[in-house]
């Protein structure tokens, strides 16, 4: 098998007497959708935060493309090409789609106006945003200067995913992308996830929704008691298998109890 794009070994994170990550491992291969599932409190979000730079593990190593990395903040992870779509989406509701797409990495105009007066290049930013949304099949959003709060939940998720896809050159992490959505909107977001993968960017999908996980994931990482219990192939296991492993009702074959 090829070398993992994102690789972590023996990650440990303690909060006082609570061990959130207990020598956890993680592998993400190029071009795949890896689902991360686990019971509440299993340490999924600590694992994702360690990878996306939101927390710093006490022990263990993380490699991106074979190179050891340590992210002091989400900003550093972003600079390395790891984009995270948080459950809260991190969009500013009163600002436009275009403003949100470029939040924190705006494009300035060339020449004196850009250099001395910091003038933004709004036409380029609008055109880029429109292009990225169209690429992901969100072209029915007509007005790129429409405030995000006037969009539906699925459209907002679409904007957040489009933003991550536009700038996430290596890895995109999606935290519960369908949790707040209705059936139709979830459908749209799942299609969006498949679209992003087809463009070659691997995705880490954290979700509680087993049907969604089994539908789109190439591999499923099951997290239990602060560590990786196993990685299963959704084609060889059923949803009830996954739930049984996740809750400890059953132990997967080949794993010592």
């Amino acid at each position: 098998m090829t070398q993992p794009l994102l690789y972590a070994r023996n990650l440990v994170k303690r909060y006082g007497r609570v061990t959130a990550l207990d020598h956890a491992d993680f592998d993400l291969y190029p071009g795949e959708i890896l689902a991360v599932i686990g019971d509440n409190g299993a340490g999924k979000s600590s694992l994702i935060k360690a990878i996306s730079g939101a927390v710093q593990p006490d022990e263990g190593e993380i490699r991106l493309d074979g190179q050891p990395v340590s992210f002091a903040s989400p900003l550093e992870a972003r600079k390395a090409g790891i984009e995270t779509v948080y459950q809260t989406l991190a969009l500013s509701p009163a600002l436009s789609i275009s403003d949100n797409m470029f939040m924190g990495r705006e494009i300035r105009r060339g020449g004196i106006m850009g250099k001395w007066f910091g003038m933004l290049d709004k036409p380029s930013m609008d055109a880029f945003s429109r292009q990225k949304l169209s690429e992901l099949g969100l072209m029915t959003i007509q007005n790129i200067n429409q405030p995000v709060e006037t969009l539906s939940g699925g459209q907002r998720q679409g904007v957040a995913v489009a933003r991550a896809a536009a700038f996430g050159s290596r890895v995109i992490i999606l935290d519960e992308p369908t949790a707040a959505l209705g059936v139709k909107e979830s459908r749209r977001v799942l299609d969006l996830i498949l679209d992003v993968r087809s463009r070659g960017i691997p995705i880490v999908l954290i979700s509680h929704n087993m049907p969604h996980v089994f539908e789109v994931a190439d591999r499923i990482h099951i997290h239990r008691l602060g560590r990786r219990l196993c990685v299963i192939n959704p084609k060889e296991h059923t949803m009830s298998d996954a739930v049984a492993y996740m809750t400890g009702a059953r132990v997967p074959e080949g794993i010592a109890a």
Binding site: T88, L120, I141
Partner: protein, 351 residues
Amino acid sequence: MSDTPDPVVARNPSEKVASFDHHSRGALDRVQHFLHRYPTMVPVIVLVLSVLAFGLISPNFFSAFNLSLILQQVAVVGTLAAAQSLVILTAGIDLSVGAVMVMVSVIMGKLSVDFGIPVPIAILIGLAVGGATGALNGALVTRLKLPPFITTLGTWNIFLALNYYLSNRETIRSQTLDAEAPLLKFFGERFNLGGAVLTYGVLLMILVFAVLWYALNHTAWGRRVYAVGDDPEAAALAGIQTKRVLMSVYIVSGAICALAAWSSIGRVGSVSPTSFFEANLESITAVVIGGISLFGGRGSILGPLIGALIVGVFNSGLRLAGVDVLWQLFATGWLIIVAVAIDQWIRKISS
């Protein structure tokens, strides 16, 4: 859908989810959406209507003299409202703007008159002190994480006390300024513009609003100010250093208060430690009537300019109509309540 079917929708029915529904909206809904899009239209309509109404009531109202007088009267509070707007856009509030302004005017006056420092340097020191007061407010809000209301309630008292200490509660008289520091009264000087008599203080106010309008709408800094005011957590997750943005807002706001201080010396004609006692609340009034949301992140910077003008028009119009001064306060009070009620209504659109 009444319009021609979108080919994308036709091919894939799930695309429909991503379309924007333009239909089935009542008239009130449309008004709400319009105001949501252009929040400054409320104060603009109020200003136009009140100018027309007062013009009909008292014929003197429309004279160039009276209209320019209104501009002169709102110049100082208007400039201060610009400073206040920046802080309110970040979902904060600055109760200390008036105290900073008076204290800085005392510092500028004292340094030039009592200490014999060249006036331009005294003015620069005053501007630096203004920025420093903002830095203090900003540090308390970002480092100690104190609520802006409490922070600036505290610093308001502190700056007021320092103001009395530095001034010895003495006024620097107009004649003294004329003799030793005429530059301090620059913004009170008048010039003629097509029959209207304006002061440079009016130009300063307009200039401050123009610069802020540009900075807020056409620079990355401005977009970040809105984002931080709208949802600070989302802004931080999107990679914005929210503390740095807040800090810059308070410093710029403090420096604008110092400009207002210079302008106020020209308006009053002297340096008085007891002047502009209500400037704090008047600046907040102008911002609120101008349609900037107290919850942050919403509203145009030009709104407070119009808000200040509305208050000026009401005061002037009611006075010319021979109405008791107390009804000016009464009217301003209702304006504030109506403005906030409209803001609440507009914000409901997102839910």
